[in-house]
């Protein structure tokens, strides 16, 4: 029964620290980094004019109808 609160507090402080740091790390390397890479990849070879012509041809732009 000695140091009842101290023991519990140590355990929970350590646990809380590990859980929060762990979840932050998991998010960074599971979600954030892949997303950044996906955007970099996409815009490396992105041609907006070609995209515009494709959308125009499909007929979704009201002010730029396909000829």
């Amino acid at each position: 029964m000695r140091r009842l609160l101290a023991r519990r507090m140590k355990f929970h402080l350590l646990g809380a620290f590990l859980v929060s740091v762990g979840s932050a790390t998991l998010y960074k390397f599971g979600v954030a980094e892949p997303r950044k890479r996906a955007y970099a990849e996409f815009y490396k070879s992105y041609d907006p004019m070609k995209d515009f012509q494709a959308m125009k041809a499909a007929g979704v732009l009201e002010s730029a109808p396909p000829k």
Partner: protein, 171 residues
């Protein structure tokens, strides 16, 4: 005044029986006014409760308490345990012991989830009308085609899963 009316309706007998119900397990009857006095609790964070567990000591226990006033090395192990049990109801180990309550709770939760599921299925089958025409296969495929034409979510979303050159979903 209303309380006294209720009293006469209920009758004196049931009031006294409710007091008698409290007098099980312990030495000594617990009356209503006892709850205003310091009481005994079995709690992890209260290591030394305000009163001892056993309130009214028998003659034997009183003799033991007298013996406790002398040197403790004169007490036998059984006497020490008896003194402990007079002072405390459960040991910390007994207090902290887990129960099987979680099984009941989990069972109850799952049961009511299942019951809700049954209700929902019944509703879908017997109560609700037809879903809107915009959920038909033709409409959905035309809708998806339009989304691809507009290049919706081209980086990570739906247009990223479509191969525009081969006109099919990416593998």
């Amino acid at each position: 005044m209303l309380a006294s009316r209720v009293f006469s309706l209920v009758g004196r007998r049931s009031i006294s029986t409710s007091l008698c119900l409290r007098a099980h397990g312990h030495a000594g009857v617990v009356k209503a006014e006892d709850f205003t006095l310091p009481g005994y609790v079995d709690r992890r964070d209260v290591p030394l409760p305000e009163v001892a567990f056993v309130r009214d000591l028998s003659a034997q226990q009183k003799a033991l308490k007298e013996k406790e006033k002398a040197s403790w090395s004169a007490l036998s192990v059984d006497e020490k345990v008896e003194l402990y049990r007079m002072k405390f109801n459960e040991t910390y180990a007994e207090m902290n012991k887990g129960t099987n309550e979680w099984k009941t709770i989990l069972g109850g939760v799952l049961f009511f989830l299942g019951l809700t599921g049954v209700i929902l299925i019944w509703q879908k089958h017997f109560m609700y009308g037809a879903i809107p025409h915009t959920f038909s296969e033709e409409w959905l495929s035309a809708q998806t085609q339009r989304m691809l034409d507009m290049r919706v979510n081209p980086v990570e979303g739906i247009s990223a899963q479509w191969d525009f050159d081969k006109n099919e979903w990416k593998k």
